[in-house]
């Protein structure tokens, strides 16, 4: 039966030869080659979880009064998009886990891409004949960033609305076409009547389709050109040594897919991410002070913060300030990234075909340039949290910004010079001793990798089960009746601690401990804030009775006095 089917297919398509080619493809056995695979697995998980979420999400800007199961926001006016995201979180069974797995997968998707790009860069894998595939890869990175941004922007909570408005300002800053372009994107002036539906169609259809197409192209080129490999015993430019696709490699790769999924499942179930119910619906006059984008936008955020107050104005026209850190910088970054294989070939005069990889330590200039660039973006990334850093170090934000501005310029240059010098010296010494490059023993590192992944996963699971709270438990306990008989501290822990911190140190909401503004606020004012809400703090009538609010305030006063 089976045989007849296979034969029938082969008779019509002649598939045996193609199948053999795929089954026999050789994969070099080095752990760093798996980073690319992890990207693919993240993408598969993103598509699967994303399809599930699409079945429930409603990207509509129509204003509704929320009547879902999350008590603190009941009766609050919000878009249907935000309301449906809350429903996914609180009413759809497994919805919260899948939403969080989706978000974590997006973070890991970009993180593994970055790691893969770095591997390719530092080992020279982008060199001829792989320049085209490098360019396809850089495009995939750009699209991943775009889709991450459209994804968390379309939920229409306070945080995403703030991010979107910054994004709008950046588009508006484009010389000449900025105003028109932003109007065409949004369907009008911010926020525009069509923004959510357009973000939605970009996020679930257009960008993912292009990503899928480019992944296929990336892999077809990879198969055609065959893998690179590190130099070593028996490894030459005209061969490639490793495990064949079938059966061992395919099985191991499948195993790694499940290990990646397992890690993401643990993260999604146990480590809270983007708690949209805390931020509240987007209000044009409000802002969440802990507005932090996803990690991969951190460098842009930092660049915006560090840019001095300067812009070009002439003849009645201007190129506004956000243009330089956001558009000029990212344009340059990705421009250089795209052009790098050709730039390097031009500077080194090396136009040969390379299938054997470089060891990073033997390419002092390239490696040092890479490290310097990483330092630059590292400083920008840190600057993206300069306010948090200032609180942490107990210095003013102004001081932190001045120091980081200096570091942005100085540290990449220093890192480059020091690293080049150290590496050149080590190469020189090796040469003087007449040693060749260290020869790697070609043993498998799969076991080590599996062990590391597993250990990391277990640590995550343990740590986060000990420290995480369950948001979905809140609706049940957050009603005035259910709260009857609780002390001020118990009420605070149940209703307030998630935002204001267990010791009033502040998390998403402001700190309220000793030496904060709230010490000066009257009890009446605090009570009014609790009942009517303020900024991103949701109003809580029906959650706590008047006596209960007073009990909470009494408790807060006790802590403030300590």
């Amino acid at each position: 039966m089976m045989r007849a089917i296979v034969r029938g297919i082969d008779e019509r398509l002649g598939t045996a030869r193609m199948t053999r080619e795929i089954l026999n493809k050789v994969f070099p056995d080095h752990w760093s080659f798996m980073l690319g695979e992890v990207i693919l697995y993240c993408f598969i998980i993103l598509v699967v979880t994303g399809v599930y979420l699409t079945l429930f999400f409603d990207a509509s800007q129509q204003e509704v009064l929320y009547a879902g199961s999350y008590v603190p926001l009941q009766g609050v006016e919000m878009s249907r998009a935000y309301a449906s995201a809350l429903d996914i979180t609180f009413s759809v069974r497994s919805g919260l886990v899948i939403r969080q797995v989706h978000h974590w997968a997006a973070l890991l998707f970009v993180a593994s891409m970055l790691a893969h790009v770095l591997r390719t860069f530092f080992t020279g894998a982008f060199r001829k004949p792989r320049e085209l595939n490098w360019a396809v890869g850089v495009t995939l990175l750009v699209l991943a960033l775009v889709n991450g941004f459209t994804g968390y922007s379309m939920i229409d909570d306070q945080l995403s609305g703030t991010g979107l408005r910054i994004g709008y300002s950046i588009v508006l800053a484009i010389p000449f076409i900025g105003p028109w372009l932003s109007s065409l994107l949004l369907g009008g002036e911010f926020p525009g009547p069509d923004i959510l539906s357009r973000l939605f169609v970009l996020h679930v259809m257009i960008v993912p389709s292009i990503i899928t197409l480019l992944i296929v192209i990336h892999l077809v080129i990879l198969v055609r050109q065959k893998h690179t490999q590190f130099p070593g015993k028996g490894r030459r430019e005209n061969n490639v040594i490793g495990l064949r696709m079938w059966p061992t490699y395919a099985m191991k790769a499948t195993g790694v897919f499940f290990l990646t999924s397992a890690t993401l499942a643990a993260l999604g179930g146990l480590v809270q991410i983007n708690p949209i119910w805390i931020f509240g619906p987007f209000r044009v006059a409000d802002v969440s002070s802990a507005s932090q984008p996803d990690w991969y936008v951190g460098w842009l955020e930092g660049a915006l913060r560090l840019m001095p107050a300067w812009e070009l104005r002439a003849w009645g026209f201007e190129i506004p300030n956000p243009f330089y850190p956001a558009l000029l910088l990212s344009g340059l970054t990705f421009g250089v990234l795209y052009a790098w294989p050709w730039l390097e070939a031009r500077f080194t005069g090396d136009h040969e075909i390379h299938h054997l990889l470089d060891r990073p330590s033997e390419r002092p200039v390239r490696t040092s340039l890479g490290l310097g660039t990483l330092t630059f973006f590292g400083v920008l990334f840190i600057a993206g949290s300069d306010d948090v850093l200032a609180v942490w170090l107990d210095v003013s934000v102004n001081t932190v910004i001045r120091i980081l501005q200096l570091l942005t310029i100085v540290s990449p240059i220093l890192v480059f010079l020091i690293s080049r010098r150290v590496m050149n010296r080590r190469l020189q010494k090796r040469k003087e001793r007449g040693e060749g490059p260290p020869v790697r023993v070609g043993h498998s590192r799969w076991e080590a990798l599996v062990a590391v992944l597993l250990a990391a996963g277990l640590v995550f699971v343990t740590v986060s089960s000990l420290s995480s709270k369950s948001p979905s438990d809140l609706p049940e306990t957050w009603t005035a009746e259910a709260n009857a008989g609780l002390t001020g501290k118990q009420l605070y822990d149940a209703a307030c601690a998630q935002c204001h911190g267990e010791r009033l140190e502040g998390i998403f909401g402001p700190a309220m401990g000793p030496n904060t503004d709230s010490v000066q606020m009257s009890d009446t004012l605090l009570q009014a804030i609790v009942f009517s809400g303020i900024g991103k703090m949701p109003p809580m009538p029906g959650v706590l009775t008047e006596e209960q609010v007073q009990a909470v305030i009494l408790y807060v006063r006790q802590v403030q006095a300590e």
Partner: protein
């Protein structure tokens, strides 16, 4: 890896976790436990498959030849010859053929241009939208709940976010109405009559990247934008004093109407919010 029972244990864990998930789902679900059980189900599978592949499948490495991708000279020549098939056959009217080709190019260009026009439908002309807010002569400033604001409502150093009456969700309209400290406030020259009864009104939209300038330190009279830390001096025309913002927050000229409520004298005299290419043109 030779004596390991990891595959058996792994798959066993997956079976147990899978059954656990079924039970959990039927019982009403629980995010943390779901995550934990998914982890065990998937990790068991992953560990089982990887260790199984190491224990039960061949591990020997293979050498595969790599051949140059560059095509042979004959192949390139043949391909060129194939392409040349498009050359005009002997005796065809060469001139006419060229004209037809040009027309074909023109046809595609015209079609392409026609296909581009619908893009214009995506959004309206932005120039007026960007300059105007719903504020106008005599329009009352109201709170987010729509209540008009009395001239004596704020104490010194207090601030309220105000909107034009009937437009409490307009994104370009949020305005900070502040009772300033008479001893420290210096009106910008020419704007002495833009303030009324100790109140001054500035746009709440940051001129840097359009965040709401949400933090006010009433002791120093400093407004701080929490997004990128631009600061503005309320007592000095909301001039930027730190951070990336290059321009002062636009000031709304206000007055007190006959019933004692705060009203706008006009719309903002300049566009609010972040800069753009022709912001200062045709003001």
């Amino acid at each position: 890896m030779h004596e390991t029972k990891a595959p058996q244990v792994g798959f066993g864990v997956t079976i147990l976790a899978g059954i656990g998930l079924l039970v959990l789902y039927a019982a009403g679900g629980h995010p943390q436990l779901e995550g934990l059980l998914w982890f065990y189900a998937l990790a068991g599978l992953g560990v089982g498959i990887v260790t199984g592949a190491i224990r039960y499948l061949p591990q020997e490495h293979t050498e595969e030849e790599r051949h140059p991708l560059l095509s042979s000279d004959e192949m390139i020549a043949a391909a060129k010859a194939d392409l040349r098939r498009a050359d005009a056959p002997e005796g065809a009217p060469d001139k006419e053929r060229r004209t037809v080709l040009r027309l074909l190019g023109g046809a595609f260009a015209a079609l392409g241009a026609a296909l581009v026009f619908p893009i214009r439908s995506l959004g309206p002309d932005p120039s007026d939208d960007l300059r105007e807010t719903p504020f106008a002569h005599g329009v009352r400033l109201v709170t987010v709940d729509g209540a008009p604001i009395g001239s004596d409502q704020l104490g010194v150093g207090e601030v309220v976010t105000a909107f034009p009456e009937g437009h409490t969700t307009a994104a370009d309209a949020p305005t900070l109405l502040i009772r300033f400290d008479e001893g420290r406030f210096f009106p910008v020259r020419g704007r002495e009559d833009w303030v009324a009864s100790g109140l001054v009104a500035y746009s709440k939209i940051c001129t840097h990247a359009a965040c709401a300038v949400g933090l006010y330190e009433n002791v120093t009279g400093v407004l701080l934008c929490p997004c990128h830390q631009s600061t503005y001096d309320v007592n000095d025309g909301a001039r930027p004093t730190f951070g990336p913002a290059t321009r002062a927050l636009p000031q709304l000229p206000i007055a007190i109407d006959s019933e004692g409520f705060v009203v706008a004298q006009s719309d903002y005299p300049e566009p609010v919010g972040p800069g753009y290419w022709d912001r200062t043109n045709n003001l």
